[in-house]
Symmetry: C2
Subunit: 270 residues, 2 copies
């Protein structure tokens, strides 16, 4: 999906909501556990409940990989089930030497047909570039993640005065344009999100950390929304997936997604 | 596997060779391609050819994942085929927020029974700690990788005067002892390998980059071998796997592994 198409989709749905499909087989409602493929069945119902309000879906690959080949099948089926006109993100946080990154890129872009993959920057340019060879596919580079451990290295100040995550954002802008590169910046770091907008004014930011992790959709929208191209996708996982443990879980998921979308619409309108 | 057991294994085999199972279905000899599971068949013959000379095996997870559920099956079969008394490393370079890292840890340690997994440090302590909850299982943290991109971020100097990779090594020593933590330091950085030995005198180092990438086994052994506990595993992949494209590939693999082991034995004896 191109940036233009993504922006058009956001404007049409009045939403920049990304639903994180962190589907944990231990947390899904018990009535689904006897179905043939509980993970896919859960995803299907979550997708049906939220598709009106979301522009992107982000399966967290770990949760599928943990189930072995069965989990990969659930993931393939989920990808098949998702309509073509949503933006799909493989939250895989991969990154390895050239020939290996190329293998990962083929897996997620060609075999599974994801639009984007999250990539860890630690190994540098040649670990990221193989992902950028695929037209209209995106790298979403980890810059400042939403977890506590983001202070251990990402926020350390370099000799040039910059925090490491900003160095990642600045250096990687030479590797691809804003038509192929986004950055992960957590909603739990509002001040840094503001700084990020200054050094990457036109890039899309994927913002996790709203909801269960304590970030605020309003604050994120205030500091990171872009007049020109909107420029953010806000990911919500647990707050949508696990609000109810019973048969009405999809009704609750729909409610949550709708409320988030309505807030987003008000920001887009203003 | 405990550190004591690993050291005993190295002393018994007079080898600190790790064979990297970066099994690329496009590169394996053509006579194997018609077999039911070419990747497993190749691995089986490589393992048979090298088991006398190697103490560790390191499947590169990307190469299996790229083949979908078929690839995971080849990987499971390879793990089943490996004898119990070798050290197994999942080269996965994972690392994510707590609940996700926990899923990855379960996958590789519990379901697949690996002894160790490579982990990317960028997301900090809470992305690494979930891997350390498993007794006698190891985290091998990326410090200074063997690729060119290692200069982009890993070697940047922090305000405290240290390069980032050294900060990773120093900070992470508070997370686990040398009985559960190793570091990846590439053979292509001999001076840095020497520095690493100073700040992590007792930790095992997993050293990639010998062979196809240009690192030298002799130089690595000279600067990184430890009198007390040996302290290195040297990984070789392409130089063993792909020396011959024909039916005798396993004879060539055996030759390469034997030559490497003999060099290692001479270092261990002296």
């Amino acid at each position: 999906m191109t940036q233009q198409e993504l922006v058009a989709l956001i404007k049409k749905k009045k939403s920049y909501l990304c639903v994180g499909l962190d589907t944990d087989v231990c947390k899904i409602p018990s009535h689904l556990k006897t179905s043939k493929d509980p993970v896919f069945e859960f995803n299907k119902q979550i997708i049906d409940a939220t598709i009106e309000y979301a522009v992107a879906y982000k399966p967290n690959i770990a949760f599928y990989e943990a189930l072995g080949s069965r989990g990969w099948e659930s993931l393939y089926k989920t990808m098949d089930y998702l309509p073509k006109n949503v933006f799909t993100i493989a939250d895989a946080k991969r990154g390895d030497i050239g020939n290996t990154s190329e293998m990962y890129a083929k897996t997620f872009f060609e075999h599974m047909n994801f639009d984007a993959i999250t990539v860890a920057p630690y190994m540098g340019a040649d670990s990221v570039l193989p992902f950028l060879k695929f037209p209209n596919k995106w790298v979403i580079l980890l810059a400042l993640t939403s977890n506590q451990g983001s202070c251990d290295f990402q926020q350390l100040i370099l000799q040039n005065g910059r925090p490491l995550y900003q160095e990642v954002i600045l250096k990687s802008q030479a590797w691809a344009s804003e038509n192929q590169m986004m950055y992960v910046v957590g909603a739990t770091h509002i001040e840094h999100l503001k700084e990020t907008r200054k050094i990457a004014p036109h890039h899309f930011l994927l913002v996790p950390g709203v909801g269960a992790q304590g970030g605020s959709l309003e604050e994120v929208s205030n500091v990171a929304l872009n007049a020109a191209n909107i420029g953010i996708l806000v990911n919500v996982s647990r707050q949508i997936l696990y609000t109810s443990p019973s048969q009405d879980f999809f009704i609750q998921a729909k409610k949550q997604a709708k409320a988030l979308q309505e807030t987003m619409a008000s920001f887009l309108d203003s």
